[in-house]
């Protein structure tokens, strides 16, 4: 293999990153009890003896949570174990009333899988080690400046279903970690098992990070980074920790294995106190749950319910609608955007034109917050009607844009859009009469044009557009104007 420049080397060191992503599943109920799995309810109103960890209460596994986990495993090409085991992970924390988390340890439901990202213009495959099911803890709130000596605990989230997706240590830069996270989020949303909302904590990410001298095979000592609550936060925390580790080694020190908490406000990663870190989870099989069996027929049923995934959809868009790869990538960013585009493309039977309008006008309004592809307040059929009018040259493109604005921003119903009154004038006779008028009231400019000032064609077009309030067919106007002017030479 030829020696190519490794862009990930910093000061002679190469970062090695692995991510643990927790995704909250969008089930109606919690994983082991029938309390609602809902965000934003009044504190401590969604609990029961099971999720409160009261003595004698027994967990019963939610079938939907299992199906969602399986969907994600299949979506990334992992193996679903026919038989998996739940285990107790023991630790103390105020928001964990049972004193243990129910997770999976040596026999997780999913193993293996691949996430493909594009890095530096080429594709890179990042390995997933495992996906397992577990329950979430509650939420501890530490109101700042309240002078409280106590933390407030809300157990509504306690027992919410999670899957943890553990990657191989395959990432070599914070940018790759960012791309991996984005892809995980995109796939979770496509298969419809998680909202992907990191701000609401529906998606959480811890990172394992080490550095090694360029060319060295063996990994360096890793640290664990926690408490990042945005994609950008993950990237910043990794950049910080990579720089810290490299500096430590260059100063002759060594890296100690520890857990660091990212402090977004101070933009630093801080070590946890040793007592907080005194965790030896003492996993053992959960005696209250039977092993989980996934039959071949159940697996097939779920496999068949999987939607088309982003990469496949993007490739199909290129082929089916003849749009560039880049555009297809943008249009398949979320499944809701892809659905919208596809509905328009089918309706007007023109992929390129649909792509222009969806990526242009609609995405602009989406970026401005005036439109949401996930909850569109203007149906694709209505947008398609506007585009069809433009395509059939019944209205001008500029009026088409105006119509989209009226639908999207002014929230007018389609019935109030005045297509008739804004019909494009493409009748040759009508335009010729109008042109005659414009020319005879601007005789001096006609003379100048004929004397060589050909730029004045723009002036005449402008006059005509003014007369017709922009409704004249621009291509036809240009052609007719030139003809009329030329005919005056003799």
């Amino acid at each position: 293999m030829s020696q190519t420049e490794n862009k990930n080397i910093i000061d002679g060191f190469e970062p090695v990153i692995g991510l643990e992503v927790h995704a909250q599943l969008v089930t109606k109920t919690k994983i082991f009890c029938a309390c609602e799995n809902k965000y934003g309810a009044e504190p401590n109103t969604l609990t029961c003896p099971v999720c409160l960890g009261l003595p004698g209460a027994l967990p019963v596994l939610n079938m939907q949570a299992v199906e969602y986990a399986i969907k994600m495993i299949l979506a990334i090409g992992g193996e679903v174990r026919q038989r998996s085991i739940f285990a107790r992970k023991n630790y103390f924390y105020p928001d964990l009333p049972k004193g243990y988390q129910i997770s999976q340890f040596d026999l997780p439901i999913g193993e293996g899988g691949v996430i493909t990202i594009s890095a530096d213009g080429s594709e890179k495959q990042l390995g997933v080690t495992r996906i397992h099911l577990e329950d979430d803890a509650g939420k501890s709130l530490h109101p700042e400046g309240s002078g409280d000596t106590y933390s407030r605990i809300d157990l509504n989230r306690c027992g919410a279903p999670l899957i943890e997706i553990v990657s191989e240590p395959d990432m070599r830069s914070p940018q790759e970690a960012y791309a991996y996270l984005s892809k995980i989020k995109q796939i979770l949303q496509y298969v419809g098992v998680c909202t992907g909302d990191m701000e609401k904590g529906h998606l959480r990410c811890d990172a394992n990070i080490s550095v090694r001298p360029e060319g060295q095979e063996k990994f360096g000592t890793k640290t664990e980074l926690k408490n990042m609550n945005s994609f950008k936060g993950v990237e910043r925390a990794l950049n910080f920790e990579i720089a810290r580790q490299i500096q430590t080694i260059k100063d002759g020190g060594s890296i100690s294995q520890q857990t660091l908490l990212w402090n977004e406000k101070k933009q630093v990663a801080e070590a946890m106190r040793s007592k907080e870190e005194a965790n030896d989870y003492r996993y053992f099989p959960e005696p209250d749950l039977t092993p989980l069996h996934v039959s071949e027929s159940w697996l097939e049923e779920i496999r068949e319910s999987l939607p088309e995934l982003p990469d496949a959809r993007s490739a199909r868009f290129v082929k089916e609608y003849g749009i560039p790869e880049y555009d297809a990538g943008v249009l398949t960013d979320t499944h809701t955007l892809a659905d919208y585009f596809e509905a328009v493309a089918k309706k007007i039977n023109d992929g390129k034109l649909a792509s222009n309008w969806v990526m242009g006008e609609l995405s602009r309004y989406a970026n401005e917050g005036a439109f949401d592809f996930a909850e569109p307040h203007v149906a694709p059929e209505d947008i398609s009607r506007v585009i069809s009018e433009v395509k059939a040259l019944k209205i001008s493109a500029s009026f088409g844009k105006q119509a989209v604005k009226e639908l999207v921003v002014e929230k007018k119903p389609l019935s109030e859009i005045d297509f008739g009154g804004n019909q494009m004038i493409s009748d040759t006779g009508e335009l010729e009469a109008l042109i005659e008028n414009v020319l005879s009231s601007n005789e001096e400019n006609v003379v100048r044009y004929l004397a060589g000032a050909e730029k004045l064609i723009g002036f005449f077009v402008g006059q005509l557009m003014k007369e017709t309030k922009g409704k004249a067919d621009p291509a036809l106007v240009n052609k007719l104007l030139k003809e009329k002017l030329e005919s005056r030479r003799s």
Partner: protein, 95 residues
């Protein structure tokens, strides 16, 4: 099977228990005895039996994803040693 006082101290730390040296000594001896007793079980011949932690014959025990009513907040907080009628209150761990 002897359990060292060091192991007792580690388990105590994990369980957030404060033990005085005398308790550590006596627990080490007690736990060694318990483990010796359990050790007897390892003498059972399990050759040819499937290693498992729960009855394998039972089929899956799964629940439909249908919500039930939860406890009222008052009921949920009732057994807590400290609350403010809205939240459970616990000594601050971080911050």
């Amino acid at each position: 099977m002897a359990i060292s006082t060091k192991e007792i101290e580690k388990v105590a730390l994990l369980a957030r228990l404060e033990l005085d040296p005398k308790e550590v000594e006596s627990l080490a001896s007690d736990m060694s005895n318990i483990l010796d007793y359990v050790e007897t079980l390892t003498k059972v011949d399990t050759e040819g039996l499937e290693d498992d932690n729960a009855s394998e014959n039972s089929s899956n025990v799964l629940r439909e994803d249908k919500p039930h009513e939860s406890l009222s907040r008052e009921e949920a907080l009732r057994n807590s040693p400290r609350h403010n009628k809205e939240f459970f209150l616990a000594p601050k761990v971080i911050g």
